[in-house]
Symmetry: C2
Subunit: 404 residues, 2 copies
């Protein structure tokens, strides 16, 4: 059996993701699709709006065959580390290709950009360094440097677009890892809220859908944008967790934690650097809501996403010391599989170089303990004896084919 | 004007405390009574069931003239440190005497015990050391050593009784500080729940009263045991804070904090020693309630009180490193005063060797920052934008005489 891989967060799983999984299979000619998915915390430095098992079940119900958890250390890292962890896991799981959605829509421009940045690395870094001195943010400096290098030439990927940037990181990661995994891309549909996939089936952004949830829109009203299985699962988790999760919901715990650490100690957490700890502490002292808090802290230099990643690490107690010890994924934590997925894994078992973990109790190393810690803190912040879920939930198994 | 001092927690202020304040004045011949009171956390390692301002107002309404906050570093320390901080503050505030309630009821036995333990210190310590080797708790070892030294002799204080023990610590602290402050004691009434003070006025223990609150008894039903002002203030705080505070209420925050720190890091907090950090972490993982948690951790060797003090320090983020830096009280934080109290303080101002602090913003040193941190964490754990109270509440001033 042949497998292709995708890197996902499914926050939530919507029609665009359905399209992505189907196209990945088609384009790669693979028999099954393996998704490596962030756990309880996401790359933008946010708690997932629904727990990882709900998001896994949504995916398995709509075309994904295996869901693997991207360990916290990669899932909440900067894009290059995030990509490296994900691509390495997909390679370990035996995928012969991976497929990402991009604004670009074809793979050649990415390969051309990779070639350019590999050969011109020194000049590129110099421009970035110079630009940062002017006080702009790191992402902005990257962008400026890239534009300078590609100016006047054609055929390069447009790395001002968010999905192109992430896609580029995947390709660069595969290249650096010297991995035989083959990159593929599909045209991303649906920047807008109502972009149609096929008549009557529309694509909305995950952000747009989450906003609709938090503004109290009925889940059934969102049926044009989500598979019916997603709606059913979202209704279940909404009732179990008494609402969805966002930073505002976790703000009492986050604020308590920031005040308890005090400004000095905050600087030991991952990504918290350059004197921002005082600002974070002062803002927590003064702000009754998360929105007021983040407005006090973010700036041109420290983007919202970067601040949120710091907050995620403070919340999870993830220190710079821990981050420095992280090298490569050490296990494949199986969150769920379909019948097809199980058949594939059984066949591949001997070829997979990492242990396949089905129970949290088997995560004994530092990387695994960190995953358990982040997950139990997420569950504890939701409240009401849900913490033990991390230890007791087995991989989700969907015995019959999807109900999409 | 002449002042006498008392050391209190007022958790809550009841008829026994009314009696104590009145008798202290009578016995000392003082014009006013100064209470040094624990803030949001108490010596038994518990959050106070009502905030420090409510407890201050109860005291001022019923016979106490000045309330000073015992800094966190002393209020939550072992008895000898607790006593040292309290007696030093009373001395600084200009008290010529202090008066404690004891089972003993007269001061001579304490002075005789002090004499004995001062001269036989070495033998005493040796016995304690030997007893601890047998695996018993520190308080039990102290007790054994004392019994061995006083065996067959008469006239010593009975240091098996809790209030006698605390009283002995005060006297020993005054002695070690070489303080001119004169120790006084009154007979403690009311070990039982209904012990009468005068016809129709009964004394219940603070613990008994708190249990009654938490079991949902109507506050007005407790009027035989509490001054009417206490009942009024308790009704107010109960409504403002949506109930009273205990560890069960703070358990979600405590549990989150323990899980976030992980077992290794727990050992850096004050009083957390001897490998108990793994037990604390494991118990937090498994226990959905505070009662279940404490039952898993406490033992003959680690008493409930000792564990609770560890938890208080973990909750407040108070490290061994911070504790080692604590020497002497650095300020007098004024929580409240009556008209009488104000007149006294105005007259004494120049003689008081420590700064008198009325606003949290003026607490700039480490000891003061710790007080602010502990108080804001207490308020944040109660919830609902009450945190700023620590910064905005001025000392309570009762302009007219008490309404007892």
């Amino acid at each position: 059996m042949k497998a292709t891989g995708i890197v996902v967060e499914y926050n939530p799983f919507h029609n665009g993701h359905l399209h992505h999984a189907a196209k990945a299979k088609e384009l790669s000619g693979a028999d099954i699709v393996i998704a490596v998915m962030s756990g309880q915390f996401l790359q933008r430095g946010e708690p997932a709006f629904a727990d990882k098992w709900t998001r896994t079940e949504m995916a398995l119900s709509a075309g994904v065959d295996v869901v693997i958890e991207l360990p916290y250390a990669f899932a909440t890292a900067q894009a290059s580390e995030f990509a490296r962890g994900a691509i390495e896991l997909l390679g370990a799981a035996g995928c012969s290709s991976f497929c990402f959605g991009s604004e670009q829509g074809t793979i050649e421009p990415f390969l051309k950009s990779l070639e350019l940045l590999s050969t011109e690395r020194e000049r590129y870094n110099q421009i970035i360094h110079d630009r940062i001195q002017t006080g702009i943010s790191y992402p902005k400096a990257l962008n400026d440097a890239y534009l300078t290098l590609t100016k006047g030439s054609e055929g390069y990927a447009d790395l001002t677009k968010p999905n192109n940037i992430l896609g580029y990181h995947y390709i660069e990661a595969a290249h650096k890892l010297n991995s035989p995994i083959k990159p593929l891309t599909i045209q991303r549909i649906g920047a807008g809220y109502h972009d149609p996939l096929e008549p009557g089936v529309a694509i909305a952004s995950a952000t747009g859908l989450r906003n609709a949830f938090f503004e109290g829109e009925e889940l059934t009203q969102l049926s044009p944008y989500l598979p019916s299985s997603s709606i059913r699962l979202l209704e279940r988790v909404h009732s179990e967790q008494q609402g969805f999760v966002d930073w505002q919901r976790f703000y009492p715990m986050l604020r308590f934690t920031i005040l308890r650490e005090g400004p000095k100690a905050l600087s030991r957490f991952a990504e918290v650097t350059e004197g921002i700890e005082n600002l974070i502490h002062e803002a927590a002292k003064r702000s009754e809501t998360f929105d007021a808090f983040i407005d006090r802290v973010k700036s041109k230099r420290f983007t919202r996403t970067r601040i949120q990643r710091m907050l995620t690490h403070i919340f999870s107690g993830y220190t710079q010391q821990e981050a420095q010890a992280i090298k490569h994924p050490e296990y494949i934590r199986l969150l769920g599989m379909t019948q097809h997925g199980r058949r594939y894994l059984n066949g591949q078992k001997k070829a997979i170089p990492l242990p396949i973990i089905s129970r949290a109790a088997d995560l004994t190393g530092n990387m695994g303990q960190l995953d358990i810690r982040a997950s139990t803190l997420y569950l504890q912040a939701i409240g009401a004896d849900s913490l033990k879920k991390e230890y007791t939930t087995p991989p989700i198994y969907l015995g019959k084919s999807s109900d999409k």
